[in-house]
């Protein structure tokens, strides 16, 4: 009994001291990212390049594939007091954590930097990662929602490719012509379009129709202009059947269908270019979104943030500075993952190379003047989740658009009140 107690006590001491980290004091800078395997390679190339130039700083790359899991891992790490030194965060998730002082403001670092200057970056992305006009994180990209299209399917249907300025009606008629039951078995084999029925996909069309997503006090999705835009979006499924229904989408995602050549048009941001570059069975390119009363698209931007709890702030900043320098941004841009946030890199061959897919990467630059972003609110992620659930309910025909949007507005109202 006595020996058992002694052994147990020794075990507890060993576990306790190892948990307290009384080990090696020269820890590497930890860098946590999310993304598909092809995106991970881009970040690995970035880390390798940095370590070649900075042999005294080791970087440990932590990869969490799914964005949802990444957020939960980051939350758990922050609560535990041991987050990665450098984390990648989307601007829609940024405010809640920034307002809780999870991140070290990088404004002062930027001001002292000889490598980076505020005006070298696209202003919209910089503002998305600023709180009260102070830069907190530095964006790595300034992407937006665009139209990916399968050129071979367009050629087979003898249809012109989407071009800048193509109208909402052009999109519907084109997608209808590309939605086919090729083997005449009563089931659609090729869909004209594919999209995730979530707020960030429908928001540009709301703006194009003259509406807005929210005011300071509530969502505005149940107002007339907004309802009209959402109804047009929902009609892709419930009326025109140019996108898969709930069963078809559950069986195989629209992303998978596009990659396998069974969907002609797919709406997404720049993030999936590394994955799409692995497509060998058909040719593809990008075009701007269809245009309504006006031309708008939505910002997709992620930033490198330095966590407040980091014990390696100077080394971590050295890495962030490198990652956002022209050299660092070119490395990631060449993988296809990003629309560089550094203007000089975005307008260079590293990004605009016509021999690297997509051929018309210039589309991402051309739409920047028409790019808007979603509100910066502490609990915006929760509000967006409610919108996504209600939108999906309408999109798959389980509620009218009016019912779903009114439900979204009333459910999200307490979250706006919470912010006051």
């Amino acid at each position: 009994m006595r020996n058992q107690l002694i052994n147990f006590g020794l075990l507890m001491i060993v576990l306790f001291t190892s948990a307290c980290g009384l080990g090696n004091t020269s820890d590497p800078v930890t860098f946590m990212v999310f993304g598909e395997p092809a995106e991970l390679k881009a970040y690995q190339d970035l880390v390798d390049a940095f370590q070649k130039q900075n042999t005294d700083i080791a970087i440990e790359l932590i990869h969490i594939p799914s964005q949802g899991d990444y957020r939960k891992r980051l939350a758990a790490d922050l609560v535990g007091g041991e987050p990665a030194d450098v984390v990648l965060i989307n601007y829609r998730r940024f405010s809640g954590l920034a307002l809780k002082n999870a991140f070290e403001p990088l404004g002062p670092y930027l001001e002292k930097s000889s490598e980076l200057k505020y005006n070298d970056f696209y202003a919209l992305s910089m503002r998305a990662f600023s709180i009260n006009e102070q830069v907190v994180c530095i964006p790595q990209n300034s992407s937006s929602l665009v139209t990916y299209y399968n050129k071979d399917l367009f050629d087979a249907a003898d249809l012109p490719y989407p071009i800048a300025g193509w109208a909402w009606d052009d999109f519907i008629s084109t997608a209808k012509a590309l939605t086919l039951d090729t083997d005449q078995d009563g089931r659609i084999d090729q869909y004209g379009a594919g999209v995730e029925p979530i707020l960030i996909r429908v928001a540009p069309f709301i703006w194009q129709n003259g509406g807005k997503v929210s005011s300071e006090r509530a969502l505005t999705l149940a107002d007339p202009l907004e309802l009209e835009a959402v109804q047009w979006f929902v009609d892709w499924q419930v009326k025109h059947h140019i996108v898969p229904d709930a069963v078809e989408e559950k069986a195989e995602s629209s992303e998978s269908r596009f990659i396998n050549g069974r969907t002609a048009i797919y709406f997404n941001s720049r993030r999936f270019v590394p994955t799409f570059r692995e497509i060998t069975t058909f040719d593809w390119d990008v075009a701007p979104l269809p245009v309504g009363r006006s031309e708008f698209t939505i910002l997709h931007s992620d930033a490198y943030c330095l966590t407040s709890a980091s014990q390696n702030k100077e080394s971590a900043w050295t890495f962030i500075e490198f990652a956002n320098s022209a050299t660092g941004q070119k490395i990631v841009a060449q993988s296809g993952r990003t629309v560089p946030s550094l203007i000089q890199v975005a307008e260079s061959e590293s990004f605009l190379d016509p021999n690297a897919k997509p051929e018309h990467s210039s589309v991402f630059i051309d739409v920047i003047p028409f790019t808007l972003r979603l509100p910066q609110q502490a609990n915006w992620a929760d509000i967006e989740e409610i919108c996504d659930e209600e939108l999906q309910r309408a999109f798959y025909g389980n509620a009218t658009v009016m019912e779903a949007m009114q439900s979204a507005v009333s459910r999200a109202l307490p979250l706006f009140t919470e912010n006051e």
Partner: protein, 283 residues
């Protein structure tokens, strides 16, 4: 002798449970100090006039428990009775019954996602070949919860082994005597097997209620994440989302406390019905 286990239970189970109970009465986001708010978290969880996610998830969880637990216990009993014999292949059948229990939860969920794929899964392909309707399963709010019930019905290995051991502990002379007295198979089951297995059945039922209210998390997270439209939002997933996604540890802990109360209430209800079952009264 038992001290290390007692210490482990206190440090790894008791203490976290107590901390969770305390957190249920606080506003805590994990990054700033907890602030005492009394019953506020319980009020917003139970009586939120706009967001009904807790009542919805509680209903979904009770639906699952009420369907899955009897199915699992009765299936384990039926299989244990059928395989409580000697013969060729019995060992193989017993192994087949137990195997699904040892498959890791993630792999198990992925297998069933394939089986229930509404277009390409083998189940709907068989139904199509037989000319029967093919539900959307995980894409259909009417059927999605049933998928989890069906999945749970196959992981009965532990209950099966326990009941098999219980059956083998019943002296065969009892059945011989009953047969001599003219007892039918049903009478032997009703008056010998069931009463003598009662403690085992009760133990398995209570255990299953506790497990069913918690262990559904992995499958739920991987297969549907609560969709379609919260029809498969079970309490463990809601608690996880509330605490680790929204960083609302107070309401998350309050939901955990409420889940514990509901589970205790269910167990109390079962005990109140069958508490004296199997006892013999000597006058």
């Amino acid at each position: 002798m038992l001290m290390p286990y007692l210490l482990g239970a206190v440090v790894l189970v008791g203490l976290p449970a107590l901390l969770s109970l305390i957190l249920a009465f606080t506003r805590y986001d994990g990054m700033s100090a907890p602030v005492w708010v009394g019953w506020f978290n319980f009020r917003i969880v139970l009586a939120n006039p706009v967001d009904l996610l807790f009542p919805i998830s509680l209903y979904n969880t009770l639906y699952f428990i009420i369907l899955a637990v009897p199915m699992r216990v009765l299936s384990a009993l039926a299989l244990a009775m059928w395989l409580n014999r000697r013969g060729r292949g019995v060992g193989l059948y017993r192994t087949a019954v137990y195997l699904p229990t040892i498959i890791p939860d993630v792999a198990y969920a992925l297998i069933w996602m394939w089986i229930f794929n509404p277009l390409y899964g083998p189940l709907n392909l068989i139904l199509t070949a037989l000319g029967l309707p093919t539900p959307g399963w995980l894409a259909d709010a009417e059927f999605a919860k049933l998928v989890f019930v069906v999945m749970a019905a196959f992981q009965i290995g532990e209950g099966f082994v326990v009941l098999l051991a219980g059956l083998q502990n019943i002296p065969p002379e009892y059945y011989a005597a009953a047969a001599v007295d003219g007892g039918s198979t049903w009478q032997q089951f009703r008056y010998i097997t069931l009463p003598l297995l009662a403690p085992w059945l009760l133990l398995l039922t209570l255990r299953d209620i506790i497990l069913s209210s918690q262990n559904i998390f992995t499958a739920n997270f991987i297969m549907t994440n609560g969709d379609p439209y919260y029809s498969t939002l079970f309490l463990p997933l809601l608690i996880y989302e509330e605490a680790f996604d929204r960083m609302h540890f107070g309401p998350g802990s309050a939901m955990t406390v409420l889940l514990g109360i509901v589970t205790a209430a269910l167990i109390g209800f079962i005990l109140s019905i069958v508490g004296n079952w199997g006892e013999t009264h000597v006058d």
